[in-house]
Amino acid sequence: MTKRIACDECTRADALRAVAGRGLPAVEPGMPVPAGTGLSRRSFVARSVGLALSIYGAGRLSLFDEGIAAAASTRTAPILVSVFLEGGADSLSLLYPQGDPLYASLRQQLAVTGGTPLADDPRLYWHPSLAPLQQLHGEGKVAVMPAIGYDHPDQSHFTSRHFWEVGATDTRLLTGWLGRYLDASGTADNPLQGLSLGGSLAPSLATARVPVAAIDGPGQYDFWTPGVWGDVQERMLDALGTLGQIRTHDPAMRTVANITAQANRLRRELAPFGKDGAVKPSVPYPSSSDSFPKALQGLAAMIGAGLPLHCVALDATGSYDTHADQEGELGPALQTTAASLYAFQRDLEARGVADRVVTLVWSEFGRRAKENGSGGTDHGAAGSAFLIGSRVKGGLVGEFPGLQNGLDADGNLKATTDFRGVYASLLEQWFDFDATRILPNAKRFARPQLLT
């Protein structure tokens, strides 16, 4: 019972399981078993959603029913997944102008080779590590944006990312663009409508009104404490709901109470996913120490089970702020990212829910056209983005401006597509929602046709 697993010898997930197996009371005849011990797992097949779910302990059935009921009512809602390439991914490597003599001179060390041409624009080549995306693109499921950004680009990670997250070039906005959409269209009792996977809330999902959630994964949201089980455990968890409702005038205490209430709702919604075996991928995902493929795998299972998701955000594998050693950093990061996105698409297809999901892959900016001599590149302007999904209108969105005339005074790639136009298209064409209610000055931006 007191098995110790040293943290330097295992992953964090293993350590969590190790802790979950400790400090339990002896079980005697007639006692209810402690929640979370794996001693009395009851497995169900939820026929309506075709997923095997495991539930622990007694007294959980009502929650289970609740989850399914909530799911059934929102099964057809479209889902947008936002995948962030953190640090400013080098657009001139993701899709690179192979034959351009300027490319060879600007990128004497870092010019990418070995990719295959982009069907829509023969000047551009896919980075070899993006081959899985190229395959989906060949099936008409990827829209490629080779030069996306905004006028007067800001080269600060934080400012530029902020612009993308809030959907406006305004440093004072405090809610995310998806957060404002959820405030306008969401409900007061469903934190899963805006879900961050990966431990902290994505700024794009920051709301002013409705609850949203952040979790590591769908099967990792249990609450227990040593020396507490059975009825007392149930009552303790119910007390989270009570503590979440205490009235207070202090803003910080109110923040804690609100989060407590949201954690309690989320705990109830995710109860059916609580245990191993609940998340079964229908296709293989890349094996990686990074959490991205696992997060997508859990996400596909949640969507497949009909949980009431609407907007989801997570970070891709890798750090793209390649001031140095770009060659060593970029390839492996893109490789895992692209292979995971490919598996996610196939998983959704196998589960029969691919027509409900589109995934936007983006970064805060691209990088300087001229390499910096540390084997890296400095902050630039226009970046690359991709929209992936069965309902996506595959092809090119905005053109590649070329290196001859397409660089600004600072030597950075000029944007040909404004990210706010893409957001407006997604709101209108995917969510069927008036973009002018969400995005400041939305009328100014041309909307590309992104969906079929």
């Binding site: 943290c7 964090r12 431990g199 590591d216 007392v232 009552r235 207070t248 140095a324 600072d410």
Partner: protein, 458 residues
């Protein structure tokens, strides 16, 4: 009513000073904001000194004493902070728990966030600990000295590519962040893109050696790699070097206001009013000393009369351990820190942690697990808990005493009592339940008390 004045400190002219009563409640809040909360009896002892002397004892502490048993991992082995995974986090957490100089340690944490450097990019716990010692050395000293030291610090030189910034191929990374995040701030029209590029040239020249056995070592300035040419930065022209680059930022007219706002934000939930900000800026401008500004902030009425702040995850854990007289007896704290949103030596990026957004549903669960981990070694075993009154109020009273009787709002107290009564009632008529449930309820209360809005804020 004396004017704040003391020994080596400057006169905080024009900064409002708290004049209300200074009892244990005020002393407790001061200890949470300026440190890691009180040990048993500490708030009462500090309150007896009065505000002036209490703040004086924090900004001018005696030599450091580490109180309590040394930290170790779950097998009782010594920590290896420079080598073993997670031991860096636990080593520093232990220092926060055991130190007799809480403000020094808290300021070390402030500088770690301000000059946020992550071992994810440095790749050497040894260099990270060197930087940590630097922050501690300069904790309440001169910001000018600190900025110079950080600019030449090996961990920072790796983190923001300082050693790859050469005259033939400038790398803007450090030059940009020293303006945007360390001294001037973004979106304040304090600098242009051209200033960034010219600043990068001024900062050229740092280099180091690397070997398979030693990793990165021998960090030094090499004049051959430095660009000695003329640069134009903030409208001034000169053949600036790295010292010049630091000086230009420190003398920039928008630096003092950036410094004051940012420093204030570590101690208070809101912004300083205009009069306070102007007075603090004047205080700081004299010679860039940190101590007088911190001292004035800690005596400001807002700290005692203003709204509460959500405790940061590390501050919370260190404080809870101090409260129960516990030490660091496991390296689980490293991954728990990660879950709760603050793994020391691994800030999320160069902007540090977002102190306005500590809480979301994931980090809330991390905080729950942190409390759970403290209670793991301290649970009441139902089989060995005879002679304890099973009455709801008695059980709640004992659970509160476990956490040294924290102040709770009436609403929180009522919610906890309701839980106690309902959980005891759930035993129904079963005799074994009636015997076993009271200690279970007390265990549950210990968990619930520590996650209340009251204990999560100060």
């Amino acid at each position: 009513m004396r004017h704040p004045r003391g020994g080596d400190d400057h006169d905080a002219v024009g900064v409002p000073v708290y004049r209300g009563s200074f009892g244990p409640a005020q002393a407790e809040r001061l200890l949470w904001r300026a440190g890691f909360g009180p040990r048993p009896g500490e708030a009462e002892a500090l309150a007896k000194k009065g505000l002036q002397a209490a703040v004086g004892s924090l900004v001018n502490p005696g030599p450091e004493r580490l109180v309590g048993p040394k930290p170790h991992d779950s097998k009782g082995r010594r920590l290896a902070p420079a080598d073993a995974w997670g031991h860096d986090h636990c080593w520093w957490l232990d220092r926060m728990v055991r130190t007799s100089r809480p403000l020094t340690e808290r300021m070390t944490l402030v500088w770690h966030d301000w000059f946020a450097t992550s071992n994810s990019g440095v790749g050497s716990q040894k260099l990270m600990l060197q930087q940590n010692a630097l922050f501690r050395r300069h904790a309440l000293g001169s910001f000018a000295d600190l900025l110079h030291a950080v600019t030449a610090n090996p961990a920072m030189l790796i983190w923001l590519n300082g050693t790859e910034n050469t005259k033939d191929s400038p790398n803007e990374n450090y030059g940009r962040e020293m303006m945007e995040l360390f001294t001037l701030g973004a979106d304040r029209s304090a600098y242009t893109e051209r200033d960034v590029r010219e600043q990068a040239r001024a900062l050229t020249g740092w280099t180091n050696r690397w070997s398979r056995g030693r990793g990165d070592y021998d960090f030094h300035f090499d004049a051959k790699r430095h660009d000695p040419g003329s640069k134009r930065i903030f409208g001034r022209t000169g053949s600036f070097t790295w010292q010049g680059a630091c000086k230009l930022c420190l003398e920039h007219p928008k630096h003092a206001s950036f410094f004051v706002q940012k420093l204030w934000s570590y101690f208070m939930p809101g912004k300083p009013d205009a009069k306070t900000a102007a007075a603090l800026e004047q205080l700081y401008r004299a010679d860039h000393q940190v101590k007088p500004v911190v001292r004035a902030i800690l005596m400001h009425p807002e700290l005692y009369e203003g709204p509460r702040m959500v405790k940061g995850p590390t501050v919370l854990v260190a404080g809870l351990l101090r409260r129960v007289g516990g030490g660091v007896t496991t390296t689980d704290w490293a991954w728990i820190g990660d879950l709760a949103g603050q793994r020391l030596f691994y800030p999320p990026n160069v902007a540090g942690w977002d102190e306005t957004r500590w809480l979301d549903t994931a980090s809330y669960r991390g905080r729950w697990i942190a409390v759970q981990r403290i209670l793991q070694d301290r649970r009441i075993d139902p089989a060995h808990a005879p002679g304890r009154s099973p009455h709801p109020k008695a059980i709640l009273g004992r659970a509160l005493a476990f956490w040294r009787n924290p102040d709770l709002s009436p609403a929180t107290h009522a919610a906890l009592l309701r839980f106690t009564e309902s959980a005891l009632a759930s035993a129904g008529g079963a005799k074994w339940k009636q015997e076993q449930y009271p200690p279970l309820v007390e265990n549950a209360l210990r968990q619930l008390i520590a996650v209340t809005p009251d204990l999560q804020t100060a």
